[in-house]
Symmetry: none
Subunit: 417 residues, 2 copies
């Protein structure tokens, strides 16, 4: 079965915004054996929308169309799908009532425009959207003699994705023949990209029945292995065999490996902290809170992460992490000595098991003769020892900060392993 994903919204035809929902949908569609043959991005013009919908229905079996279900004049997906299929729209009373209830609950005014969201395409089923006011719609219809499955989904990712999972996937599974796809994901940290390829390509290229994809981003490499067979046992066996060989090659660069998705580095760090009964604190200068932010993005982080300090000024390095002004004057704020003092200081101040201290030159200014842009020192302290590493990351401010957080998280992981 072939599918097309249409993302609706003029903002996605600007240089500043890209559709990302389609990546999520593609993964889910692939898992049930549906190929994505086309993706189309179209603006909020009714004529263009109708054109895109008719084009899609002429070349695929399953259409997911995202966006344009909101209450504004620009939201035209319902109207366009109805026009493309020569079907009518009717305003559903129960849905109008639901909109009124929702508006009352959130104490927001309900304009007449808002009621558009209660319009249902002839023959369509409304798909409840607990995260927003616009419900999705699902319609199985005949287009030029062929049966087509069409989903209308809201555009915001936090509405689109759960709605697709709960309402669309079960309907698609029921409608299409089952296939067996085995999957595995491996993740590794801070392995040089060229080395990864040299190490891994000779292995995975010999498994021609497995589709191996490598994604690299800011010190993080993710390998995804997909194998489709008539029986799931054989597919799983093949994928597991390749995964085992890749895991061995990756050695301690590997930090997670899972059947469907694998844990992020933040999750792994928190997992090991929990396992060791350890707690963590951070004192961040150049990363300005980014390490703390990454760790606290994981639900339940508070069990092992106590917090820390953003010691952007030298005064705060002293008052929050107990780094002596003399030490800063002697070695400079960007030095291994200060990184270690930050790590030890924040650990002692917070009473945590582990302390991390980060200082560096994220740029674009601040480089000196002896310390280039991108120079970073990361200190790590526990009751046994305090040490640090020096790194120099290329790229702009964002990139240096991101690589630094990755390096810091990886150091914590390695200490805990």
């Amino acid at each position: 079965m072939k599918s097309e994903i249409i993302a609706v919204g003029s903002e996605m035809l600007t240089p500043w915004r890209q559709d990302t929902n389609s990546l999520y949908l593609t993964e889910k569609l692939n898992e049930i054996g549906v190929t994505v043959a086309f993706k189309t991005i179209v603006g909020d013009r009714r004529k263009d929308l109708v054109n895109a919908i008719r084009t899609a229905l002429g070349r695929i079996d399953i259409l997911a169309i995202m966006g344009g279900l909101g209450p504004t004049e620009d939201d035209l997906t319902r109207e366009a799908v109805a026009e493309a299929l020569s079907l009518t729209l009717r305003r559903e009373a129960a849905q109008v009532a639901a909109l009124h209830t929702r508006a009352a609950t959130w104490r927001v005014p309900l304009s007449s425009n808002n009621l558009k969201q209660a319009d249902v395409i002839q023959g369509a089923t409304l798909l409840p959207n607990p995260n927003g006011s616009a419900p999705g719609q699902w319609i199985e219809t005949n287009f030029e003699g062929y049966i087509k499955l069409i989903f209308l989904l809201p555009g915001p990712p936090n509405e689109c994705r759960p709605l697709f999972d709960t309402e669309c996937l079960p309907r698609l599974r029921a409608a299409i023949p089952p296939r067996s796809i085995a999957k595995r994901t491996l993740r590794a940290a801070m392995i040089p990209e060229s080395q990864a390829d040299k190490l891994l390509a000779p292995i995975y290229t010999t498994y021609t029945d497995i589709e191996t994809t490598i994604l690299a981003h800011a010190g993080d490499i993710q390998l995804t292995l997909l194998c489709s067979k008539s029986d799931i046992e054989t597919a799983q066996q093949r994928v597991d065999e390749l995964a085992a060989r890749l895991e061995e090659a990756l050695g301690d660069w590997l930090y997670s490996s899972g059947a469907y998705s694998s844990d992020s580095l933040e999750q792994i760090v928190l997992y090991y902290l929990g396992l060791r009964g350890a707690t963590l604190s951070v004192a961040e200068s150049c990363t300005g809170g980014m390490i703390a932010q990454r760790i606290t993005s994981v639900a339940g982080a508070s069990r092992s992460f106590v917090g820390g300090a953003v010691v952007y000024s030298d005064a705060l390095k002293t008052s929050f992490a107990g780094v002596s002004a003399d030490l800063i004057a002697k070695h400079g704020a960007v030095s291994s000595e200060v990184a270690e003092a930050l790590a030890e200081g924040i650990r002692l101040r917070t009473g945590s098991t582990l302390g991390v201290g980060v200082t560096g030159i994220a740029g674009p200014t601040g480089a000196t003769d002896s310390k280039p842009l991108g120079r970073v020192y990361i200190g790590l302290s526990d009751s046994q020892k305090t040490d640090s590493i020096e790194s120099t990351f290329r790229g702009d401010r964002d990139r240096v900060r991101l690589w630094t957080t990755q390096q810091a998280l990886d150091l914590i992981r390695r200490r805990l392993m």
Copy 2:
């Protein structure tokens, strides 16, 4: 003039890879007055490619097609364009020679497949590609009675983008009537999306000669106004007139307005801090460093931002921000009292002019009978007063945290205004 961008490559129909060249091309096309009406992503299947090309030519004037010009069997763009236009391909001798020279220089073998890259569509001009082996092609042709401009571009960004700049833009400028485009960008914080539309749509929809795009994301709204006229003065006048009316409507929700791009909320907060000679510190609980991270993402933040504390545990709320354990016990860690105490405490501890304190329930757990998921208190303290606001944000952990940082930054901005 309307255009479509087709990105060719099965890898861009996986969950892991996205076309990004189109963002670059869109910006360049907009600058010369060409709208991008559709973007299509299609795999390396000849039939699908021909379908995508014919569809595009049926609905736009200018087609840029990227990828599929390489030497492998999967590279089918030349063949597909020729088929879609019912034109022939011929192998150009000079180009064959160039491929041989290139292979000799780089000492790589030249397979017979490689010679495909010397195939030229009937009537097309080859576009030299100094960064790769596959040249681009440019063809001006009649499709169903209309003149169409078509560019074939290599897929790798380091080949596609310079080739587009040097070879395509001058040809497009020569082929299309010159237009002058005036642009303006406005940004506003924390205005409810439905309210923004109600407030702004009646204004901007009356300016039918201006393309207004609204991007909304986590409490941030960005309006981009584009006006294309034969003379720049008229275009600028129109855009400025609309901008002035929108600015008035937005009132103090508006935080920045600029000719080409406008400053981010972080930049504005730092700008006002600098203007007032003020400094800022933060004590973050539920946002876990995210506010500090956003502020320090701006180069030069250290001039006004001293740092702060990530007070994830109650103990740290006390030791880093001086919040008494009694206060926490009495009102709960998530309370306006604790938010205010955090704000005042961090201001006094760091000696900054302004202090911000944040505490809330980001989820997915932690809600109580009186405090739902998404409940957040943000305290703000200066030498004159300390107060706080209560908000309840919907959505998952990420969303609640992001909205909270936006609300906090906006509060700081309003206090400084």
